[in-house]
C-alpha cells in the first residue's frame, strides 16, 4: 500500500474541527461512572485511621477491640504487608505507616466493615500508642543541621556537608560562567521568592473497589491517571504477578498529576484479601487534602544580571523544594525548566530535594516548573522595568530559538516561544489602557512534554464502524482526540469511531496519563494503528481485485487502485471491506505499540491585568490572555480548555491557595472552605490564542498542551499585582493580608 508520506503541509478534514465530546452526555446526565459509583455484590466499606500527629513513633497498634466488633470483616496495619521490593517501599509506607507516622493524616490502620457506621466505630476502637516527635514543615527550617530528622541515613552523596539529613539530594544544571556574566551586567537583581504548597484540587476524591478471590486473582476499579501503574505498583506491594490483577479505570473527575500514584488501592486489595469480600474505599475531602499528594512549597534564591539594553548576561537560581515526607520533590524539573525560555551564555541552577512532615508531594501539572518560572520571570520583569524596557521586547531579545542550547542540556529544534511573544505584542490586550490601581503583567513558561510506553488497538466491526482501545484515562479530552485522529486517518466520519479506555488485561503496558503525553503519544499510536488497519484493508481489496497489494492505495475512506497500471476497479469503502472481512481472511484490526519519542517541548506567554483595592489589598483579575504553541490543535476547544484551566489553577496558586500548618504541624485548612480554589465569579473569561508550530516528532505535528499553561500565571499575576500595588510581591499566595501589608510597608518606608 502506498501511504501518503509527502512533506507538503497536509490539509485536515476532521482534525482541527470541534465535534461534540463523546463523554459529554454521560457527564451532564450523571450516567458517567466515577470511582465512587462502582459497586459489587456483598461489598464492604473500607475506612482508614489516620495519625493526628505530624511526626510520631508508632509504639503499638492494638486492633483487638476493633476486630471483635460485630460487622468488622478485616483490619489491616502495616504488618500485614510484610517486606516489599525497594522500588515500592516508600509507596507502601505512604499508604500505611510503618515505624513512624510522618505527617498529620498519615494512614496507620484500616478496617473493612459491613457498613460505614460500623467502620467508623471500629476505627475508634483501634488503640494506637504514639511517641510524639519534634516535627518540621517549612523547607528552609528542615534544611538546618539541627532540624528534626524524618529519615536517618538516606541522604544522597550529592548533598554537601552542613545540611540536615532532611536534604535528600542535590542537582545542578547549566553552562558558562555565572561570575563572568554577572560582571558584564549593568544591574543584578538578587532576591528570594517563596511559594506555598498547593493541591491539584480535583473535584473527585480518590475512590476504589477491590476484590480478590481465594485463587489470588483480583480486580480493581479506581479513579486514576494510570491503571497500568496501579496494577504494577499494587502487584509489587502485594507480591502478586501483574497478570493476576486486572485494573479498570473509572471515569475521572480531575487529576492534574495528583492521581499518578496509589493511596487507597493496595489497602483495599489487602482488606479484600483478608475479608474475602469486595471492599470499597472513598476518601473524604479532608482525607484528600491531608493525605494525598499536593505539590511542593518552595524557597528560591535568584541572581540575574542584565545590560541596560535588556540582554541577560547571567542567570543563577538555587531552588529548595520540600516534597513532603519522602524524597522525590520535583526540584529537578524546576531546576531544569527555570531558565528554559532563554538563550543564555551563562546559566546555572542548583536544586535541593527536602523532606518535611507533610504528605508526600505528587505530580501537579508541570511539576516543579511554575514556582521556578515565578522566581525567574519576576526577576526578569523587575530588571526590564528598572531599565524602562518593554518586558515583551526583553523576552524576545533573550528568547530561546531553534538551535539554542537549553539551560538543561539539549539543543532545541523548532519551538514556538518567539511566536507566542510576537502574538502577545500584536494583541489588542497589550495596548489596552489601564485604570487607577491597575497593573499588567506578562510571563513566559516552558514544559518538556513526554512520550513513553503506549499501546493502541483499533478494531473494525462487521458493520464498518471502528473502535479504538487505548490505555490512558481521559482527563483532558483524549477520547475525542483519538476518535478524531482515527477518523482523519481512515477517512471516515467522527461519528463512526468510538474510543474506549481499555482495562489492563486488554493492552500491553501504558505509561500514566502524565507529561502532556496522551494526545501526542497515544495519538501517534492511534494514527499508526489506523495505518496498519488501512494496510490490511488494502490487502483485502487487492485480494478481491486479484492485483498486487502495492497497487492499492487508501483515499477518502476507501481502497482504490493506485494508478492506471493497477487496472480498473471501483473503490471499496471501509464499510464494504468490513462486511466481507470474514470471507477474506477474518476480522480486521490494526494495532501499534511504541515507546514514543519526539514529544516536542511547549512554550507559552501569559498576559494579565489586575486591579488591587488599596484599602483592603483585594486583587481582582480583570483580563487574561494565553498565547501558546500547540503544534497542531486536534480539537481546538479542548486545547483552549487546557489553556484556560492552567491559567485558572495558576490564579488560585498565585492569589489564595496554600497548605496552612499550625505550630503543632496539623493542617489548618483541610477543606474547600479554607483551601481557596478560585470560584467562577473570581474570574474573567480567559482568552486564548493557539499558535501552531508543528512538532516534527508527530505525524500531524501535535505537541502536548496540558501542562505549559500553569507555568507562566504565577509570575504574570505577581508582575501585574506588583505593578498595580506599586510594590514588588515575592511570596505566594498574594492573599489580601499580604498585599495590604506590602502596600502599607511601602507607605511606611
Amino acid at each position: 500500500m502506498a501511504l501518503d508520506s509527502s512533506d507538503k503541509p497536509r490539509t485536515f478534514k476532521v482534525v482541527g474541527t470541534r465535534p461534540l465530546r463523546p463523554d459529554g452526555i454521560d457527564k451532564v446526565t450523571g450516567r458517567a461512572r466515577f470511582g465512587a459509583d462502582i459497586v459489587a455484590p456483598g461489598m464492604l466499606v473500607g475506612r482508614v485511621l489516620r495519625s493526628p500527629h505530624a511526626h510520631a513513633r508508632i509504639v503499638k497498634v492494638d486492633t483487638s477491640k476493633a476486630r471483635a466488633l460485630s460487622g468488622v470483616k478485616a483490619v489491616v496495619t502495616r504488618a500485614d504487608f510484610g517486606a516489599v521490593p525497594d522500588g515500592v517501599a516508600d509507596v507502601i509506607d505512604n499508604c500505611m505507616a510503618g515505624d513512624k507516622a510522618l505527617y498529620d493524616g498519615h494512614a496507620v490502620a484500616a478496617v473493612a466493615a459491613s457498613s460505614a457506621a460500623v467502620a467508623r466505630k471500629a476505627l475508634r476502637l483501634i488503640e494506637v500508642e504514639y511517641e510524639v516527635l519534634a516535627h518540621v514543615t517549612d523547607v528552609d527550617a528542615a534544611m538546618k543541621p539541627d532540624a528534626p530528622v524524618l529519615h536517618a541515613g538516606r541522604q544522597d552523596e550529592t548533598v554537601p556537608e552542613g545540611y540536615s539529613q532532611n536534604v535528600m539530594s542535590r542537582v545542578e544544571f547549566g553552562h558558562g560562567d555565572i561570575d563572568k556574566g554577572l560582571a558584564e551586567a549593568d544591574r543584578v537583581v538578587e532576591r528570594t521568592y517563596r511559594t506555598g504548597a498547593t493541591h491539584q484540587g480535583y473535584i473527585e476524591p480518590h475512590a476504589c473497589l477491590a476484590t480478590m478471590g481465594p485463587d489470588g486473582q483480583a480486580d480493581l476499579w479506581c479513579c486514576t491517571q494510570g491503571h497500568y501503574m496501579v496494577r504494577n505498583t499494587c502487584a509489587a506491594i502485594l507480591g502478586m504477578e501483574q497478570g493476576q490483577l486486572r485494573v479498570t479505570a473509572s471515569e475521572i473527575g480531575g487529576g492534574f498529576g495528583g492521581k499518578t500514584t496509589v493511596f487507597l488501592e493496595p489497602v483495599a486489595l489487602m482488606l479484600s484479601k483478608l475479608a474475602g469480600r469486595p471492599v470499597k474505599m472513598v476518601m473524604s475531602r479532608s482525607e484528600v487534602l491531608r493525605a494525598t499528594g499536593p505539590t511542593s512549597s518552595s524557597s528560591i534564591d535568584i541572581k540575574i544580571g542584565m545590560t541596560k539594553d535588556g540582554r541577560i548576561t547571567a542567570g543563577f537560581a538555587q531552588l529548595r523544594y520540600q516534597g513532603g515526607a519522602y524524597p522525590g520533590s520535583p526540584v529537578d524539573m524546576g531546576s531544569m525548566s527555570a531558565f528554559a525560555p532563554y538563550d543564555l551564555e551563562n546559566v546555572k541552577t542548583v536544586g535541593f530535594d527536602v523532606v518535611t512532615n507533610r504528605p508526600k508531594a505528587a505530580a501537579y501539572r508541570a511539576p516543579g516548573a511554575p514556582m521556578a518560572a515565578f522566581a525567574v520571570e519576576s526577576a526578569v520583569d523587575e530588571l526590564a522595568k528598572g531599565f524602562g524596557l518593554d518586558p515583551l521586547e526583553v523576552r524576545l531579545k533573550n528568547a530561546a530559538r531553534e538551535g539554542t542550547v537549553a539551560s538543561y542540556g539539549p539543543t532545541f529544534p523548532a519551538i514556538g516561544l518567539e511566536a507566542t511573544l510576537e502574538a502577545a505584542k500584536a494583541h489588542p490586550h497589550w495596548t489596552a489602557p489601564l485604570g487607577e490601581n491597575q497593573g499588567r503583567g506578562v510571563a513566559c513558561g516552558f514544559w518538556f512534554n513526554f512520550g513513553g510506553d503506549t499501546c493502541v488497538t483499533l478494531n473494525v466491526t462487521p458493520d464498518g464502524t471502528v473502535t479504538v482501545s487505548e490505555g490512558n484515562p481521559d482527563i483532558g479530552g483524549s477520547r475525542a482526540s483519538m476518535t478524531m485522529m482515527a477518523a482523519e486517518e481512515l477517512g471516515i466520519p467522527y461519528t463512526q469511531v468510538r474510543t474506549i479506555i481499555a482495562d489492563t488485561g486488554s493492552l500491553g503496558q501504558n505509561e500514566v496519563t502524565d507529561g502532556s503525553r496522551v494526545t501526542f503519544a497515544v495519538g501517534l499510536a492511534t494514527i499508526e494503528a489506523a495505518r496498519n488497519a488501512k494496510r490490511e484493508m488494502c490487502k483485502r481489496a487487492a485480494m478481491i481485485w486479484g492485483i498486487d497489494e502495492e497497487a492499492v492505495e487508501w483515499v477518502d475512506g476507501a481502497a482504490r487502485p493506485a494508478g492506471p497500471n493497477a487496472g480498473k476497479h471501483d473503490p471499496m469503502t471501509l464499510k464494504e471491506i468490513a462486511a466481507i472481512a470474514s470471507n477474506t481472511g477474518g476480522p480486521i484490526a490494526g494495532h501499534y505499540e511504541v515507546n514514543a519519542e519526539g514529544a516536542g517541548v511547549s512554550f507559552g506567554t501569559h498576559m494579565v491585568d489586575v486591579e488591587v483595592d488599596p484599602d483592603t489589598g483585594a486583587p481582582k483579575i480583570l483580563r487574561y490572555t494565553v498565547f501558546q504553541d500547540a503544534g497542531k490543535a486536534v480539537h481546538p476547544a479542548y486545547v483552549e480548555g487546557q489553556f484556560q484551566g492552567g491559567a485558572v489553577q495558576g490564579i488560585g496558586w498565585a492569589l489564595n491557595e496554600e497548605y496552612i500548618y499550625g505550630e503543632d504541624g496539623i493542617l489548618q485548612n483541610a477543606g474547600f472552605l479554607d483551601y481557596r480554589i478560585p470560584v467562577a465569579s473570581d474570574l474573567p473569561m480567559i482568552d486564548t490564542m493557539i499558535l501552531e508550530i508543528a512538532n516534527p516528532g508527530h505525524p500531524y505535528g501535535v505537541r502536548g498542551v496540558g501542562e505549559t499553561p500553569i507555568v507562566p500565571p504565577l509570575a504574570a499575576i505577581a508582575n501585574a499585582v506588583s505593578a498595580a500595588a506599586g510594590v514588588r510581591l515575592t511570596d505566594l499566595p498574594m492573599s489580601p493580608p499580604r498585599i495590604l501589608a506590602a502596600i502599607q510597608g511601602k507607605k511606611g518606608g
Partner: protein
C-alpha cells in the same frame, strides 16, 4: 439517629426538651454539612418546617415578622422586606450559593453561632429581636444577646427560635452590610460590618447602630462607632473617625483567614463603606 417533624411548637419543645443531644433542623445548611462530615452524631433531629408560621413573612407593628424556616431566597424575593431592610436581606443573601439560598435561614445562621455569620451583624444593626419558645413559654430577646461564644448560644434546653422580628424602618433610615472575603462568593467573612442609621433634615446622622462580625468571639455592637457618627454628616472626617473607632474596637485573632492587623484595618474600611451605602439609602437613593 431519630428524625421527627412535629406539626406544633409544643410538640417540638417536648421533643427537644426530652432528648439530650437533639438538634433543630430548619434549612439544614450547617447541620447536614456537619452530619456528612461526621462532626455530629445527633440522637434526634427535629425538623421545624411543618410547624405553622415557620415559613411566613408577615407585617407586624410596621415591621416584619420572619418565620424561623424562611429561606434567604424567599427573603430576597419579598419586595416589602427588601425595601425596608436591604442590608439584612443582602447579608442573608451572601450566605453560600444559590442552592444554599433555597434553604438557609436567619435563625439557623444565628444558632450556628459562628462569629463570622453574615446575617448576624446586619440583624444587630437593624435592632432585630427574636421570639424564642421553650418549656417555660415564649420570650423576646435582642439578637445581640443570643451568641455566647464560637459554637454556643444562650438558648436553654428545649428552646428554639420561632421567628425573627425586624422593627419598623425609621423615616429617613437606611441599612447596609458588607463583608470582606478573599474570593468573590462561596466564602466566609474575614470581617463583617452592619450599619443602620437615620438622617435628620440637615443630612446629619440622628441615630446609628454599627456592628462588627468575625473580629471577636461573637458579634459586637460598637457604641463608640455610633457616637462618632451621630450629629455629623456621614462623610469626610466623620467616616475617618468611624473607621478608627471600629479598627480599635475589633479584637480579632491571627488565623488561617487573616491577620490581626489586616482585620482591624479592614473593619474600619468596611464600616466607612457600609455607612456610605446606608446613608445613600437613608436619602431614598438606590445603593
Amino acid at each position: 439517629m431519630r428524625y421527627e417533624a412535629p406539626n406544633s411548637v409544643e410538640a417540638a419543645i417536648d421533643l427537644l426538651a426530652a432528648t439530650e443531644g437533639a438538634y433543630v433542623l430548619a434549612g439544614g445548611t450547617d447541620l447536614l454539612v456537619k452530619l456528612r462530615a461526621e462532626m455530629l452524631e445527633p440522637e434526634l433531629v427535629v425538623d421545624i418546617k411543618r410547624i405553622s408560621g415557620m415559613k411566613g413573612i408577615t407585617p407586624e407593628d410596621g415591621g416584619w415578622r420572619i418565620g424561623a424556616a424562611v429561606s434567604g431566597a424567599e427573603m430576597g424575593e419579598h419586595a416589602g422586606l427588601t425595601g425596608d431592610w436591604p442590608g439584612v436581606v443582602e447579608a442573608v443573601g451572601l450566605i453560600g450559593s444559590t442552592q444554599v439560598q433555597g434553604r438557609a435561614t436567619l435563625a439557623g445562621n444565628l444558632c450556628n453561632a459562628s462569629p463570622a455569620a453574615d446575617s448576624v451583624p446586619a440583624m444587630v444593626a437593624a435592632n432585630a429581636t427574636l421570639r424564642i419558645v421553650g418549656p417555660k413559654g415564649s420570650r423576646d430577646v435582642a439578637v445581640i444577646d443570643v451568641p455566647a461564644s464560637p459554637g454556643k448560644t444562650t438558648l436553654g434546653s428545649g428552646e428554639f427560635i420561632a421567628s425573627v422580628f425586624l422593627p419598623a424602618k425609621p423615616d429617613h433610615g437606611g441599612d447596609a452590610y458588607l463583608r470582606f472575603i478573599p474570593r468573590t462568593e462561596m466564602d466566609i467573612a474575614v470581617v463583617g460590618c452592619g450599619v443602620s442609621l437615620v438622617l435628620d433634615g440637615a443630612g446629619k446622622v440622628s441615630a446609628a447602630r454599627v456592628s462588627l462580625g468575625a473580629v471577636g468571639p461573637k458579634v459586637m455592637l460598637v457604641d463608640a462607632a455610633a457616637e462618632a457618627l451621630i450629629g455629623r454628616a456621614p462623610k469626610g472626617d466623620a467616616l475617618e473617625d468611624l473607621a478608627a473607632v471600629c479598627s480599635a474596637a475589633a479584637t480579632p485573632i491571627d488565623d488561617k483567614r487573616g491577620t490581626v492587623d489586616f482585620r482591624r484595618h479592614v473593619a474600619g474600611v468596611l464600616a466607612r463603606r457600609a455607612t456610605e451605602i446606608a446613608a445613600t439609602r437613608a436619602k431614598g437613593e438606590t445603593a
